[in-house]
């Protein structure tokens, strides 16, 4: 199709507007005070899914000073698609262990919820990923967040409101049971990006394209701002490298990474993966007022990063993310 000169006006206008918006966002962000203090992140070794994961998690949760007695806890695994040849989803053993750990720590209620971004039949997907077969009373504990009842939450990036599932909004604590993976658009998908699954498909569709239009980094940060009562447990026992989050290859690392400050957990995961968190856009944004990402301000508990670091393969577009 031949383009006329007048077609360029809206493009030029949009470009100028986008440029100003980006400048304004960065300018105002830089004026915000950085969070004070330090954050604790626990790294524990777990060579396989058959070791005592619940015991390791309980120790890690205590080491991070989290109190869950009497609270309603929602476990949010990363259930995306199923491919028997790779490891897309949070392993079922990690979910079972988290359920046991939070129950034993005195949580009043522990539910499991997820809203996959591509697949409509969540329960069938849960069955393929062995969640239904391996987790006791799965059907009574699980909520399909894509099709849960919803309520509006005001102000979401440049949108007036976002509709979110009541099960997640009611929870006293949302536990991001993420998978340690590379991501072909975001660089890495860890505990913060995992919150995309809290957005209901029944409102925003499959995929949840609204989040892409808002901006992937912006949406990640906004969801984490809304669900700030959270805790992260990242399944890095076997992660995924290369063209993640779906088409990558398994990457055994043998760790669980835990903490209350999700940006700090994700920054630590990035360092373990050989990715510079300062170059991951959503972590850059999150470091401005959501959490701590500088290594010097993260209290590393358990294993040292150097002892478990295992560089993940990165697609060519993300080679510049490599940690020196």
């Amino acid at each position: 199709m031949k383009m006329k000169r007048r077609d360029l006006f809206p493009i030029a206008g949009a470009a100028a507007l986008a440029g100003y918006a980006a400048w304004e966002t960065r300018r105002t962000a830089s004026l915000r005070p950085k969070l004070p203090g330090t954050s604790a992140v626990t790294v524990v070794k777990a060579a396989s899914y058959t070791v005592d994961l619940a015991g390791r998690m309980t120790a890690g949760i205590r080491a991070c000073g989290l109190e869950v007695r009497g609270q309603r806890v929602l476990l949010k695994p990363n259930l995306v698609e199923f491919d028997p040849n790779t490891c897309i989803n949070t392993n079922v053993a990690v979910i079972a262990a988290a359920y046991e750990a939070f129950s034993k720590l005195g949580a009043a209620e522990v539910l499991i919820g997820e809203g996959p971004g591509h697949r409509r039949d969540t329960y069938a997907l849960a069955e393929m990923a062995q969640y239904r077969g391996e987790l006791d009373k799965f059907d009574s504990l699980f909520v399909d967040l894509n099709r849960d009842d919803v309520s509006p939450v005001m102000n979401f990036a440049d949108r007036n409101r976002i509709y979110l599932p009541n099960t997640a909004l009611r929870a006293d604590l949302v536990v991001s049971l993420a998978k340690m993976k590379t991501h072909h658009w975001a660089g890495a998908t860890l505990s913060m990006k995992n919150f995309f699954g809290l957005v209901p498909g029944a409102v925003y569709g499959w995929p949840k394209n609204e989040l892409h239009h808002v901006g992937i980094p912006e949406s990640i940060v906004e969801l984490n701002r809304i669900f700030h009562r959270s805790f992260a447990i990242v399944d890095g026992i076997v992660g995924m490298e290369g063209n993640g989050p779906i088409q990558g290859t398994p990457k055994p690392v043998g760790v669980l990474v835990m903490g209350r400050d999700l940006p700090a957990v994700d920054a630590t995961c990035c360092r373990i993966m050989g990715i510079d968190p300062a170059k991951v856009e959503y972590l850059q944004m999150a470091s401005e007022n959501l959490g701590i990402t500088e290594e010097s301000r993260i209290e590393q508990r358990g294993e040292k990063i150097a002892a478990v670091r295992s560089d993940f393969q990165l697609i060519k577009q993300f080679q510049d993310l490599r940690l020196a």
Binding site: A14, P152, A202, E210
Partner: protein, 345 residues
């Protein structure tokens, strides 16, 4: 408006409870009025129809899962499954209040913007033979709605973004499909549902604009078909690697493309998926797709000669707690209302 076949089959059995209720005490009456229909209650279709009746909310709508809020999508699929019944009329009364001034339907009472499910509302209006204002406005909304990637400035931004490695430029963005939500991109399921609605509307609104949107929508679906012949949500590749198709979206796309000559190999794949998938939702969609495309698998959703019987017993005999799946399974039954999703060639 003709009664669907299964209702004709049910009607004689209904006489018995009506006669009985006259002589029964009041407390028993309610029980009889909602009693299962003898003889068909335990059939594949009967169990699903009865489950849908039990799951209907007091407001006339259906939730995705029993006891939850009513949503437009399960309400309309359940209304199609129970087409011609009082439950479907109550549902239509409710969803009529969800249509907005712009002609689009909101996805539930709680959500304040119009949604892709507007297409299904137009299809249901056509099935009911109601071609007045709500139908006309719904069609107008569909004709005005398009994935925003088809706008000229967005196509340039996508092209530039693609050169910078920020986005994937993998399809013909001049082909207008439909988004889930306005001001986002077009995807397979909303496009397929809009195609059914507009093809249903075509005899009443025979405009060039409508025909052109149908042509572009069909081309868009064919353009995003995966190499294996099926469809996923709407992307063929990610970062250069080919993506696999999914059974449920393959079924949905084939409903939108029914009658197109180019779908032969996709139909073959759908048959294979139908035998292999573990997803009841996918089986229901694939079955509906096979039926509206003139292919008739045997009872209980699968071709009896080639199916693993264990698979049928394990999955298809049980009614799902998922209302949407139950409605789709009822539609896909040989005696179900799948013909309401069939469009003229």
């Amino acid at each position: 408006m003709g009664s669907p076949i299964y209702l004709r089959r049910l009607r004689p059995a209904r006489i018995v409870p009506y006669v009985l209720k006259k002589s029964r005490p009041k407390q028993v009456k309610a029980e009889i009025e909602t009693a299962d229909y003898p003889g068909v209650a335990d059939s594949y279709l009967g169990t699903r129809v009865n489950a849908l009746r039990k799951a209907q909310n007091a407001d006339g709508g259906w939730p995705y899962f029993p006891g939850k809020q009513s949503w437009l999508e399960p309400t309309l699929y359940a209304a199609l499954a129970l087409h011609g019944q009082p439950e479907a009329d109550r549902a239509w009364e409710l969803v009529s209040t969800w249509q907005q001034k712009d002609g689009g339907w909101r996805p539930s009472a709680e959500v304040g913007f119009p949604h892709a499910t507007t297409a299904l509302a137009v299809t249901v209006a056509a099935a009911r033979g109601e071609f007045g204002g709500p139908f006309q406005n719904g069609v107008k909304w569909l004709l005005a709605a398009a994935g925003d990637e088809s706008e000229m400035y967005k196509r340039i931004i996508i092209r530039v973004g693609s050169l910078m490695g920020k986005v994937e430029d993998q399809r013909d963005f001049s082909l207008k499909g439909w988004p889930w939500k306005l001001e986002t991109s077009s995807w397979v399921e909303p496009t397929s549902m809009a195609l059914v609605a507009l093809k249903k509307a075509a005899p009443k609104i025979p405009t060039a604009e409508l025909r052109e949107r149908v042509r572009m929508g069909e081309e868009m679906l064919l353009d995003v078909r995966c190499t294996d012949g099926g469809w996923n949500y709407g992307n063929r590749t990610a970062r250069g690697d080919e993506l696999r198709s999914y059974p449920e979206t393959t079924g949905i796309a084939l409903v939108g493309l029914q009658g197109r000559a180019e779908v032969g190999r996709s139909i073959d794949l759908a048959g294979k998926m139908l035998r292999e998938t573990a997803s009841p939702m996918a089986r229901a969609w694939l079955t509906i797709a096979m039926r509206v495309n003139g292919i008739f698998p045997g009872p209980h959703n699968v071709n009896a000669s080639s199916v693993d019987a264990r698979n049928v017993d394990a999955h298809d005999s049980k009614v799902s707690p998922d209302v949407l799946i139950t409605a789709l399974e009822a539609l896909g039954d040989p005696d179900g209302n799948h013909s309401l999703l069939k469009v003229a060639a």
